[in-house]
Amino acid sequence: MKDKLTRKNIILGLLICFLPLLMYGIDDIVDFLSRYDIYLGWPGGEYMLRIIVRAGVYMLLAVGLNIVCGFTGLLDLGYVCFYLIGGYTAGILMARLGVSYWIALPLAVLHGTVWGLLRGAPTLRLTGDYFAIVTFGFAELFFRIIRNEQWLVGAPNGQLRGIPAPTFFGITFNQNWHNYYHILILLTLVIFITYRLQHSRVGRAWVAIREDEQAAESMGINVSRYKSLAFAVSAAIGALGGGFIAQFQVSISVPFFDFWESILILCMVVLGGMGSIRGAMIGAAILGSLGEVLRPGFIIPYQFGNARYLIFGIILILLMRFRPSGLSLKKA
């Protein structure tokens, strides 16, 4: 995937760069048509942008989870715990201690990384199912700590409200299009780093560990070190997403970070094809927007609740049965 300035890529690039303009432009067109009594089912540019930003966060998380699940081949069932750590670290620092976002975000990432390493250390020699169970247990513990320790968050159930928007020389970044470019920059950075890692000595070591840990070790790869690195990078990306979502959502609470969120991100990675950055992003884009469409009250009646998870479950089962390599072209 060298730099290819094909027409398709240029158009895609321009589209990504000017997406908010396009959204607001469609708003104007819809507005104009409505004067002539022509109504399109357009939910509004601001709403669309919010969905796109949220899908962007999912892309970030999917790329992060892909490092552990896809590259090193370990099933992480508790990825959401880094998302939670990032979100609450940044949120508490900003809303309760008045720290600037530009300091809170790196601190959140650092905090997430530390926990990634701490969680990783005892699990280094575990593989497969046992690793999955430990990650799951860790996420549930963090979930419960945030829910129960009121002194930490200041409200029951982890309700953290009034997280201020970041400011930069007097400009407050609270518009949806601000957040769009914000997540775009973060995502670009993360993809650049993971892409470089994947195609470096480190990435090859990860894949070697995935294919055969013992063989990798006997070829001189320091398995513990490379696994720890994978845990740290993955955790850092998760915490970055959390830090961003804290200021984007303004208020966060624990249901936002429950076990099913981990499963949703896993589902994205699996759908896109484990081990592929592009796949993870496509999976996140599809399920992120599908999740929005299938939210209760839109197509699915309210009383069915989170029926979208039913569909995600079916997707997981069918994929594993008929196409374990996901949407990517690589045959697994």
């Binding site: 081949g73 099933l75 069932l77 005892p122 699990t123 020699r125 575990l126 593989t127 497969g128 199912d129 046992y130 999955a132 169970i133 430990v134 799951f136 247990g137 860790f138 549930e140 513990l141 419960r144 829910r147 129960n148 076990f259 099913w260 499963i263 896993l266 699996v270 009383q303 069915f304 609740g305 989170n306 029926a307 998870y309 039913l310 995600f312 479950g313 079916i314 997707i315 997981l316 089962i317 594993m320 049965r321 374990p324």
Partner: protein, 307 residues
């Protein structure tokens, strides 16, 4: 002291229920090395199916109980047939992800069919001795044994414990004394070799799923006798029961029974004396500690790191 005794009994009862569920996890893991995430959901379905049989079809409790077990056994076998059997030779991760997918589907299906509203068995449909109460005016205790110090031991709890013990002994006899039990043990040792010896492994696995699911269903009904039935109960209780299976050494049936009792006691005492908010966290902590320190569990043979 009276409270201690009461807590102890509560812990035992909860432990008995966990043991019943944990056996389902451990038997399946022992044979096909799969963490059957859907098992907790089968347990939840057991409670809901019994509730539906009783309230919608007006079937008496004593018939609804085995009927629900049978339906859940069929459900377990169906899941194995449709989802797990095609993946027998696929990478282990695929089967695990499929199990999570099935768990998602079943849990949300339950939510769609029965709504998320917590439910209880209507007391008038239950056998009289399972409904114990203390008459506040007369101080008369119905269907319960008074404990020294003022607490009561409901017949219901005695019933749950006895049932759990009887089922456990029955399962133990089944595994060690019958032909199918022998086949199951053989499959757990080496599935390919068992197949070569003429054991129909797929049938044995189906029977394992059926037994585990039936025991899970009965555990679900037992929980429904004293607690609310909700679509998420399978998830919460399932994880605690899984912790019990891990604690006892996964694949080890006797270990799962003892693990269930230990987790049940730890949960009740932890909730009573540490913090009720961390009720389930105790099971998670035990589970993580066991996996990290001694992956083969308390009673399992030390086999190093199980892949």
């Amino acid at each position: 002291m009276a409270q201690l005794l009461e807590q102890f009994i509560n812990g035992l009862v909860l432990g008995g229920i966990y043991a019943l569920i944990a056996v389902g996890y451990t038997m399946v893991y022992g044979i096909i090395q799969l963490i059957n995430f859907a098992h907790g959901e089968i347990f939840m379905f057991g409670a809901y199916l019994a509730l539906m049989l009783i309230t919608v079809f007006n079937i008496p409790f004593w018939i609804a109980l085995p009927a629900s077990m049978l339906l859940c056994a069929l459900l377990g076998m169906l899941i194995d047939l449709v989802a797990y059997r095609p993946l027998r030779d696929a990478p282990r991760l695929s089967a695990l992800i499929t199990a999570i997918g099935i768990s998602l589907v079943l849990q949300n299906l339950a939510r769609m069919i029965w709504s998320a509203r917590p439910r209880l068995f209507p007391t008038e449909t239950l056998p009289a001795f399972l409904v114990s109460e203390v008459n506040m005016q007369t101080g008369e205790i119905l269907n319960a044994i008074p404990l020294p110090g003022g607490g009561i031991l409901p017949y219901r709890d005695v019933f749950i414990l006895l049932l759990a013990v009887v089922l456990m002994i029955g399962l133990n006899r089944l595994i060690y004394l019958t032909k199918i039990g022998k086949a199951m043990r053989a499959c757990a040792q080496n599935r390919v070799a068992s197949n070569l010896m003429g054991i129909k492994t797929n049938q044995v696995i189906a029977v394992t799923f059926a037994i585990g699911s039936a025991l899970g269903a009965i555990a679900g009904i037992m929980v429904g006798l004293s607690e609310n039935i909700t679509p998420t109960m399978g998830y919460y209780k399932g994880v605690a029961a899984f912790a019990a299976a891990v604690l006892g050494g996964i694949g080890n049936i006797t270990g799962a029974m003892l693990g269930g009792i230990i987790i049940g006691l730890a949960e009740v005492f932890g909730a009573g004396y540490i913090s009720s908010g961390y009720r389930l966290a105790i099971a998670y902590i035990i589970m993580i500690a066991v996996i990290v320190i001694r992956p083969s569990g308390l009673f399992g043979k030390s086999t190093g790191t199980r892949a």
